[in-house]
Symmetry: C2
């Protein structure tokens, strides 16, 4: 008896077609994907017009991608999938600093600066001092930890989005913690911005009654040999988009204080708590 296609056991017919020498992990992932995609189509009784629209949407999403724009990552972000995959892969003990999405704007190779240096190179925005300590859960300072930071400028754009008008490495820098684990650098008080919403993902957000805004944040990538790398942001307390980040990046533990310092500049304090690798 040949196992022809049938609606009621469609996912099994498809999965039974896999060959005998497939990588076990690929077989596991694809079997689950087929099962869930078929269950989705059945649950909502997807129409052919709807499926056609989905095909068109996915096609336009792929064709929107180029060297400077990754619309599928944006799609993953707004569907909460980027945060979910990050969460699944970075479960940490209570008290450790939580991850959030890397985002598409990290650039390797930013200049390393002395503590206290101002990374804002375009003269825009309100100055802010970022300070804190990198330490273990037990409270031991981690010296020599590498802190890679980046954020948008006061107009809401990263340098790589405006290569013609922003200085290279504007609002980016690398710092290395002192013997007592502390860091400090100057930048601007981060501002909120919309994710690029002139493509298919932006149209989808609009259809879903969602806004494209992200609350103001500073990106941190904190690494030290022997410890799990922390990919995260600190969010500016009080930001109007904290509760509705378009990419679901906010966690309560990542909201950092933002206060007026002695010199009337802003001051934001945040400590990073690292866990050993392999834990």
């Amino acid at each position: 008896m040949i196992d022809y296609f049938a609606e009621e056991r469609s996912e099994d017919v498809v999965n039974a077609r896999m060959g005998p020498d497939v990588s076990p992990r690929l077989a596991e992932v694809m079997t689950s994907l087929v099962k869930h995609l078929h269950a989705f189509a059945k649950d909502v009784e997807l129409t052919q017009d709807e499926w056609g629209l989905a095909i068109e949407f996915l096609t336009r999403t792929g064709q929107m991608c180029d060297g400077n724009r990754q619309e599928f990552i944006l799609l993953s972000d707004v569907l909460g999938l980027s945060m979910l995959v990050d969460a699944i892969n970075h479960r940490r003990p209570s008290g450790a600093t939580e991850n959030t999405v890397l985002g598409p704007f990290h650039v390797a190779g930013a200049p390393q600066y002395a503590m206290g240096t101002n990374i804002s190179l375009d003269g825009k925005g309100e100055t802010c001092l970022f300070v804190g300590q990198v330490r273990t859960i037990e409270g031991l300072p981690i010296a020599g930890a590498r802190i890679d930071v980046w954020c948008d400028n006061a107009d809401g754009y990263y340098d790589v989005q405006q290569p013609d008008t922003q200085p290279q490495w504007n609002n980016r820098g690398v710092f290395v913690t002192e013997a007592d684990g502390t860091y400090s650098f100057r930048g601007i008080r981060p501002v909120s911005y919309p994710i690029p919403d002139d493509g298919p993902v932006g149209k989808m957000l609009a259809a879903l009654g969602r806004h494209p805004n992200r609350p103001a944040h500073m990106h941190f990538l904190v690494s030290s040999p022997g410890y799990q790398t922390i990919v995260t942001h600190t969010f500016v307390e009080g930001d109007q988009w904290l509760s509705s980040d378009a990419v679901f990046g906010v966690k309560a533990s990542l909201v950092a204080s933002m206060e007026r310092g002695d010199d009337t500049a802003w001051r934001s304090s945040f400590d990073f708590i690292m866990t050993p690798s392999g834990v």
Copy 2:
């Protein structure tokens, strides 16, 4: 209490973000999609490297698409989704002719011919007479039904895949049934062929240990006012790929006889049983 992202209720956090004025059907479809995609990522504990590969795959799939190639439809086909959506939307009473996938090679506007005309214009292949009747489940002939047929040539390519070497409308034609519901036309005995496998979908099939071949078939699009349009193929009995069609298009009821006729040409007989619209 703000509903920040959390792994264990990630799908609810995402779906709760939808606005109040969203189309109810869009809300239903997206809620289910988010639920199933998050369940998939959780079930297999998707890694960030795997998710990155998926993003790359989807991007390449979109960028493979142009006016002549729709790689996302191909992806939908090989995952059984095209057949599933077709099945969900064309449940018919027992005895009625079943649908199968339309495929990407239908072209509207083929010439209408007199019964018996040969649609093969390139002189290749073994001649085959296709005959049958269009009727109701009750056995009443349907006169004036429009039968739009198309297939690949003897080399396994549709005319639109080889516009420089095949005559336009090669192996395509439209016929209109006689008063007794019958039809007849000549063409070639269909040959099996691989779906285009030089793109991301072909690479995926290879990784899954699957071949790209489709069993030999003739496409039929049968329509008549007051009846549900039938989009289907007839498959050549005995074809080596019948049990493993790369796009899962085969149904047992669609396998047609293929016999030597009196004139030593092949002869394939298939009757189409239509159901009223709206049933």
